[in-house]
Amino acid sequence: MMTMKKFLYLFLGVDDSGLSPAELQQRMQRRIAWIQELSKAGHFHASERLEKSATTVSVKGNAKTVTDGPFAEAKDVVGGFLIVTAKDLEQAAELAKGCPIFEAGGRVEVRAIVETHA
């Protein structure tokens, strides 16, 4: 059996706010259908959607501070993530091409998850 690796998809640059409920529902249904397809094909590992609001924890001097933001520009908003299993980065990228995010002007960043072999 071929060993499968895990890849992280970051969904970028799509803002769902401002959509009508019907449009939002349609968009969600397309995303759900795509993920269900991935799952049927055995590639699904995990996925969540992310809220737009964020806080950042950082270090200033020797104190950790919590600040609101980042208020990312629309093109940098991370809307959610998905972890797939695929045989290599090439397959992972190929699978990402089916994502409905492109219809909404977004993009997918595909990152291999580092595996440690004990």
Binding site: Q36, K40, A46, E48
Partner: protein
């Protein structure tokens, strides 16, 4: 009846049909190994309906039940997903906060429910389970019967049904691949087992000794409902399934006329054929013609053809007994049994005359284990009487009465003795 009581009646009628569908959908998501959890969710849903519907039944009761079951399932999965595994192919989706609800919703689409019901049916028909256990678990999971109702239907103690069910559940828990039940090389074997269980269920309703007509009719109805479901699905759409359904239809045609107003059994010759269900005859004929595609000839085909001869005869005298004898000859080759041989002998008597019938029966009585079967002596009595040998006929009927297995049979045979 009080308003609340009537609502409850509506609920109970609907529950039978919806409980099985809901449980099947839940099993699809939760996994067959969580069958008891699925049943718990269904049960909670029905209890909730009984509470809420006191105030009025919703416009779409079935949709209401599905919504409540779906919400309840989502709650249960959220609560239990840290400790339990669910359907192996859905486990990861169910762990995702935003995919959880869509995944559960999917299982409740009509076609998904149908598929799930078929999978449950095939899983229940596992060859390691004895047929009575298969039937019990089908009635429980697919037909929404309680343990008490199954026990009542089969006239056995509840503890017997509980034992059958717990054995069946233990077996079902070992099934990992629920969806594989309707695909793969084991399908023909499972299908044969499903057929046998449905046949057993129908016969329990049709020939069973349960005193309540309503109970027996319901068992026949459930067997027909499951068989229709099977016939619609690619895994079950084979000539044999259609033959079985045709057989059920042609028998069910006379369900309403098998007993009179007082509940006494009515012989085929006595039944009011104008009350036979024409629509069912038509359904039976349609199924029998679907069963005749291909070159398979199963016992179900032959039994259906015999039942069709009876169902379509204008009167008892107009029955095509010659064809029936020929069909019994075929059936004796495919599935020989003493009862089939007796029925053949009786048909010979009607086709060729009582003397031939008597000879055939006497030959059987010497050869087979039927000597203690009351209907052998009853048939003998009929032919003896037709031959004018009244004293011998009476003796035969009296032997039959002594061998009757229940009051309904005793009453019927006593009526024959009186010559009525």
């Amino acid at each position: 009846m009080s308003e609340g009581g009537r609502e409850t009646g509506v609920a109970e009628h609907l529950f039978r049909h919806e409980a099985g569908r809901i449980t099947a959908a839940l099993v699809r998501v939760l996994g067959l190994h969580n069958l008891d959890l699925a049943e718990e969710v269904t049960q909670d849903t029905l209890l909730r309906a009984l509470e809420v519907w006191q105030l009025g039944v919703p416009d779409d009761p079935a949709g209401w039940l599905i919504r409540v079951a779906r919400n309840r399932a989502i709650d249960v999965i959220r609560r239990e997903r840290a400790f339990r595994r669910f359907a192996p192919d859905l486990t990861r989706l169910l762990e995702s906060e935003w995919m959880l609800a869509p995944t559960v919703d999917d299982a409740f689409f009509a076609h998904e429910i149908r598929d799930a019901q078929l999978c449950v049916m095939f899983c229940c028909a596992h060859p390691s389970l004895p047929p009575p256990a298969q039937v019990a678990v089908m009635l429980k999971t697919l037909c929404g019967f309680s343990v008490g109702e199954i026990a009542h239907a089969f006239l056995v103690p509840e503890t017997t049904i509980e034992k059958r069910l717990s054995r069946a559940y233990a077996e079902l828990r070992t099934h990992r691949n629920f969806l594989d039940a309707v695909t793969g090389p084991h399908v023909p074997e499972r299908l044969a087992s499903v057929h046998a269980s449905l046949y057993l269920l129908f016969n329990e309703g049709y020939h069973g000794s349960h005193p309540e007509h309503a109970v027996r009719e319901e068992l026949c109805g459930e067997a027909m409902r499951l068989c229709a479901l099977l016939a619609e699905h690619p895994a079950g759409d084979v000539p044999r399934t259609h033959a079985l359904f045709a057989l059920f239809c042609f028998h069910a045609v006379r369900l309403g006329t098998r007993t009179d107003a007082s509940g006494a059994l009515q012989l085929l010759a006595e039944q009011d054929r104008s009350r036979w269900d024409r629509a069912l005859i038509a359904r039976g004929e349609a199924s029998l013609s679907r069963a005749s595609t291909g070159n398979e000839l199963s016992a179900y085909h032959v039994e259906a053809a015999i039942a069709a001869c009876h169902a379509t005869a204008a009167s008892f005298a107009d029955t095509d007994w010659r064809s029936i004898v020929n069909l019994y000859d075929v059936l004796l080759r495919i599935r020989p049994s003493a009862v089939v041989a007796l029925n053949r002998a009786i048909a010979v008597g009607y086709a060729d005359g009582p003397a031939f019938g008597l000879d055939a029966i006497d030959a059987l009585a010497r050869e087979t284990s039927l000597a203690a079967y009351p209907f052998l002596d009853a048939a003998r009595g009929d032919f003896l009487r037709a031959l004018g040998r009244t004293a011998e006929a009476h003796a035969s009927f009296e032997r039959a009465i002594a061998r009757a297995r229940n009051d309904a049979e005793r009453e019927l045979l006593a009526r024959k003795l009186r010559g009525g």
